[in-house]
């Protein structure tokens, strides 16, 4: 159905396309998957966080930046730790926008946060500022489509993609509802659980990737529990357009508190290695 409407909607799509879409197109042309890296903004403190973000941006295709929320129900201990450190360091929503503005990164950027953060900033004010500083998409972990109508309209107006999450438990009827409003890519949570690096790639991850590909006709990125090159390879081989890696990077920050240079080096090395895993097509 997607390709049928494509011709008519070409003009509209050209306007609505943003850096996320362009990036996936470029990568597809090269036969690569996208490596989407995550860091919590303000972790371990505001100045070091800027250095880490700048370093990671050099080696990933898309960067997902977390604005910390005090009660992150979908996050495991690693990202909870990062959020605690960031909040203790005085991180807030205004500083998040300032960091992004200052760093002028030339890859697609996504903010990831919880709904109360957006709500208290003001939905329209938040999304408008996203556009102004060069944020291309938002992921709001606890805002299901049923409650997202207002924000979806605002996002469309400012050409900021509202990135939807789908889960192994998502039913078909909801999936269709979500796909009808999806932009940029679909983020597949590939297993039941909270965020966190896992030693072994779960069998369910590959199964669920294949399941999702039956429905999702825009790029599909797979996240949760992906931390190693062979995980990335397997997921991209299964047909995903990208992988999201978060806790594995945050763990490096946690392990090297007080030694930011070492953290930067390890993060760059891991990102480079994972990026190699995306070149399997």
């Amino acid at each position: 159905m997607h390709s049928k409407v494509k011709g008519d909607a070409l003009k509209l799509e050209a306007v609505q396309k943003n850096r996320i879409d362009v990036k996936f197109e470029e990568l597809r042309a090269k036969g690569e998957g996208a490596l989407i890296g995550y860091l919590t903004l303000g972790d371990p403190n505001i100045e070091d966080s800027k250095k880490l973000v700048r370093a990671l941006a050099k080696h990933v295709d898309i960067l997902e930046l977390g604005i910390p929320f005090s009660d992150p129900i979908a996050d495991g201990p690693t990202i909870q730790g990062a959020i605690d450190r960031a909040l203790k360091a005085g991180m807030n929503t205004d500083i998040a926008f300032e960091i992004v503005k200052e760093l002028k990164l030339d890859i697609p950027l996504i903010f990831m946060t919880y709904y109360n953060i957006v709500l208290q900033y003001g939905e329209e004010r938040f999304i408008k500022r996203c556009r102004d500083v060069g944020i291309d998409g938002v992921i709001i972990v606890d805002l299901p489509i049923e409650e997202a109508q207002n924000l979806l309209d605002i996002c469309a107006r400012y050409n900021v993609h509202f990135i939807f999450l789908i889960a192994p438990t998502t039913r078909e009827d909801r999936l269709f509802k979500i796909l009808s409003r999806a932009r940029g890519f679909i983020y597949l949570i590939s297993l039941l659980g909270v965020t966190g690096a896992r030693e072994k790639l779960q069998e369910e991850t590959i199964e669920k990737t294949k399941w999702a590909l039956n429905y999702v006709k825009i790029p599909l990125a797979v996240g949760f529990g992906i931390s190693k090159k062979e995980h990335v390879k397997a997921v991209i081989k299964a047909g995903a357009s990208g992988v999201v890696v978060g806790s594995a990077f945050v763990k490096i920050v946690e392990k090297n508190l007080g030694n930011i240079e070492k953290a930067i080096k390890e993060i760059e090395n891991l990102a480079k290695e994972l990026k190699e895993g995306t070149k399997v097509k």
Partner: protein, 392 residues
């Protein structure tokens, strides 16, 4: 009143995608069973023969004489496990069983909901795990022991403020991971739809009994009903059957802690703003960026930064009014009820009593005031003793 879990603009459903099917499944199951004759019969059986309902409505002879109006207590302290919490846990555990769930999880602050959940799990042969903030475990050792004795696994929560809100976070994380086999037995009228509606319905038995009992005792409806409000399940339970009876004043009492100016309290209506926490849109204590604030109350059961969304709605339409009582006032009320009537109230319920004591001049001899005595005070003896020691 509620359209898809909304009470006016409050309520709703703000949860991660993973949990959507689980709450939909729960909403469907609740719709299906709430009017199911067999379910109702089973629930009635447990409420009567296991919980000990109906609980009495006690006239306070001495207190009434002192205050100059008629004071009644709805005696939820006499329900099995010592608080109103069991009305909800038995009902939800029964529902979980109907849904084919083998395991239930719950959060607890003071331990009352944890104990009531562990108890219901025993009665209905379900596996049970309780999440409890490490600080609360320290404060409520006896309840931890009770839960363990009842066969529940108690998981300490070390994240965040190590209190009730963090216990809910951790329970939600467990639910996200084990959603296929597990029912999350939430303890108050909070969280995503259908919890606030469902739990209100399960607790409404308090108000239905109260209405019958007061009509029998006084031949009239009360002037006012006063209840403490943490999440607000005991309050909504006693309010709800009276909502249409607009001549009955409904009064909720939040935890004023060490006073509003101290910033150490849990009075969401007094200084909170609208926001979203744990799946629902309501009044929340938070900073300007939406970070949730820590709370304080001597009553662990009121020590939570958000209030049930239906209370936010009742307040907005003016049907119920909300005030707060401080730690000190609650302890004073705790002492007075013990001395005057031989009834030791939970510190939570003592907040409701404190409001009535401090506002006695609003009522005259023809007035009838019912206070919901949501729980008994045995669990609080050590805390009160310490408080009095420090303040004397």
């Amino acid at each position: 009143m509620a359209v898809k879990g909304r009470f006016g603009r409050f309520g709703g459903l703000y949860i991660p995608e993973v949990l959507m099917p689980a709450v939909e499944e729960l909403a469907e199951a609740y719709e299906r069973y709430k009017d199911d004759e067999e379910f109702k019969r089973e629930l009635d059986y447990y409420l009567k023969h296991y919980v000990g309902r109906p609980t009495p409505l006690t006239f306070c002879k001495n207190l009434s004489k002192d205050l100059g109006f008629k004071v009644y207590l709805k005696r939820e302290d006499l329900a099995h496990t010592g608080a109103h919490k069991i009305n909800n846990t038995i009902a939800q555990a029964l529902l979980a069983k109907k849904m084919g769930k083998k395991r239930i999880i719950a959060e607890t602050g003071a331990g009352q909901h944890g104990v009531a959940t562990a108890t219901a799990a025993r009665a209905l042969n379900l596996k049970c795990e309780i999440y409890m903030g490490a600080k609360d475990i320290e404060r409520q050792k006896m309840n931890v022991f009770r839960m363990k004795l009842l066969g529940a696994k108690v998981n300490p929560v070390y994240s965040g403020t190590q209190t009730l809100k963090d216990a809910i976070n951790e329970a939600l994380r467990d639910w996200i991971t084990n959603v296929r086999t597990t029912h999350y037995l939430l303890g108050s009228v909070l969280g995503p739809h259908p919890y606030p509606t469902m739990i209100r319905d399960f607790q409404s038995i308090i108000g239905r009994e109260t209405k019958e009992q007061i009509l029998k005792a006084e031949g009239r409806l009360p002037t006012a009903i006063v209840a403490c409000v943490g999440g607000g399940s005991n309050a909504i339970g006693i309010f709800y059957p009276f909502i249409e009876d607009t001549e009955v004043e409904l009064i909720g009492v939040e935890a004023g802690g060490k006073g509003i100016e101290s910033d150490k309290h849990a009075a969401r209506f007094a200084s909170g703003r609208e926001g979203v926490l744990h799946g629902t849109y309501t009044f929340v204590l938070q900073d300007r960026y939406g970070q949730i604030k820590g709370t304080h109350s001597i009553a662990a059961g009121l020590d939570y930064p958000a209030v049930g969304p239906e209370h936010a709605f009742l307040r907005e339409i003016g049907r119920a009014k909300y005030y707060y009582a401080t730690d000190e006032e609650a302890v004073e009320a705790f002492k007075i009820l013990s001395e005057k009537e031989g009834i030791i109230p939970a510190l939570e319920s003592a907040h409701a009593l404190a409001w009535a004591l401090n506002n006695a001049d609003k009522f005259d001899k023809n007035d009838v005031v019912i206070i919901n005595l949501s729980g008994r005070g045995d669990k609080d003896l050590e805390i009160v003793a310490k408080f009095l020691e420090k303040n004397e």
